[in-house]
Symmetry: C2
Subunit: 194 residues, 2 copies
Amino acid sequence: MAKKRLNQTQFALLGLLETEPGTGYDLKRRIGESIAHFWQEGWGQIYPTLKQLEVENLVRRSVMKSGKRELQVYRITRLGRAHLTAWLASPVSPEVPRNELLLKLFFGGQLDRIQEHVAVYRKEQERLLSNYISLESQLRRKAAAHPQLPFWLITLNYGRHRVQALIRWCEETQKTLDTLEWNREGTHGIASAR
Amino acid sequence: MAKKRLNQTQFALLGLLETEPGTGYDLKRRIGESIAHFWQEGWGQIYPTLKQLEVENLVRRSVMKSGKRELQVYRITRLGRAHLTAWLASPVSPEVPRNELLLKLFFGGQLDRIQEHVAVYRKEQERLLSNYISLESQLRRKAAAHPQLPFWLITLNYGRHRVQALIRWCEETQKTLDTLEWNREGTHGIASAR
DNA sequence: TTCCCAATATATCTTAGAGATATATTGGGA
DNA sequence: TCCCAATATATCTCTAAGATATATTGGGAA
């Protein structure tokens, strides 16, 4: 008996529908507004998964007419809620590491290109950091009394700790790479006035 | 003209073959010994990708007989080397975040289960940390003079910074969750002597 | 008023990748 | 001699990333 690999998109959508019913488009929008900093879904997952969830009776679909347009509104069922709860309590599956930047660093190549990769990466982490900070103050204002607020802050805090560490790594790495560049030039006897 | 999405496995294998020719099995072993802490490949990628690389003339295959067994040894070609170099210099594609632990935290659920998730996660990060530390001292001993050593240390350093930050996040989070538990019990008037 | 565009809404297609599994050989130790 | 772990190659399924097609709707500019 093969252990069924779990479709995480299912549970992400169930979790979102638990808060409030909505259309596929709506769910995508809500992902962007709430969990995008650690979870993303594309159209290619959302619409087929909703259909699949309906077949399994984990969600129910109701069609809302608005002019010529038919909105497919999904809401979670009792069974869906049960599945969600079970999943929330189940062990977190380990993450598989795959870091393109590190792969390129490991293989070496042209030093100046590597330095550029690190610089771009650092900029991106700094962008993320300021993003987390503004999201946090926004949350504290808009949802100050929300019972789930502590959990939301915890997820933001994760991002903050992570990117701060990565920024420090970038700083260290940039110093190391500068030193290497220096030594290499020294070795080759190239005096470059900069 | 659609931008061809890049098959990262290709370049990972080319990078490994650049150092030294080898069989698919050999490459898997070398991944485990060198880059597994930030990059992994399964059989399902390795063997088909090697065949594909051969078709594209990026690697050349030679069959070595050893008794009844035929070893498929692959070595990188001049063209393959050119592709690899171009890839090493090309921009790093952004990482798509997908963190199951944070998703479960965000959706809330039973507090004790969340606490267990965090505890397990913390243990895993601590395991990784001690792993990085021993790998580093091992590297410094075995490859002290290797020209690529600084780059290898940089990748290990990335892991160390990352997991140290995540361990600190776990500590903070555990405190926060404990406080929440306390408050909840207080609210419900449950006096639990522990 | 009409035209255009951005936002809303649903859907599908291809490729990459994760993970499991099948199968055969080989070398060394009980 | 037998067995098992390591070596070696290969395939299959499902999940997910990303791009794209298509139609509607509401609001602002010409």
